[in-house]
Symmetry: C2
Subunit: 107 residues, 2 copies
């Protein structure tokens, strides 16, 4: 699943997650996305390209401006992969809770 490779890799950078967070509110221009960060526009442009290569966003050019829109499918795929483990972690947390309760009874 090289899709998942690129999706998770794209999400492993805080700058890129912040871009995603921003885009959930709707379309934005590249320079708007770049504004909050201290790095160069070029650097943000590269992050946008990583997200775009991973299919997480779609970039369309209108005039001299690039507009970015969040895309649903890769995020859903990543969430679906993680969801296979949901029962595992719920069980683990439940077991921990039971253990802590038993501890308390012993006082």
């Amino acid at each position: 699943m090289p899709d998942l490779d690129r999706t998770f890799a794209a999400l492993s950078d805080g700058t890129r997650r912040a871009i995603v967070a921003r885009l959930v509110a709707g379309e934005a221009r590249l320079s708007d996305l770049a504004a909050p960060f201290e790095m160069s526009l070029t650097a943000v442009s590269k992050h946008v390209r990583v997200l775009s290569d991973a299919g997480l966003i779609e970039v369309t050019k209108r005039g001299r401006t690039r507009y970015c829109r969040l895309q649903a499918t890769p995020m859903k795929q990543a969430a679906d992969w993680l969801d296979d483990y949901r029962r595992f972690w719920e069980d683990q947390f439940a077991a921990l809770a039971r253990y802590l309760e038993d501890e308390e009874e012993e006082d």
Copy 2:
């Protein structure tokens, strides 16, 4: 959130996701984890270290053997982050479905 950085980075590799998938069935020795792969034990050991540094697994030494166990918290954190976008992608898919229905009516 450097935790998320490391969690997503750890999950961005197919070998490591396969290791996680294996461990959901329960504890395993390092060499058992390595067996299905064609790479060297050292390489798998490095993958295990990445997972362990990210907190996704816990490694305990018993005798000369290392046993690995899956840990719940980081996976849940990653799933929680993605979950913030669930409504977004559900809306996007719903919009797409509506669009396709309208298309059909026009025939």
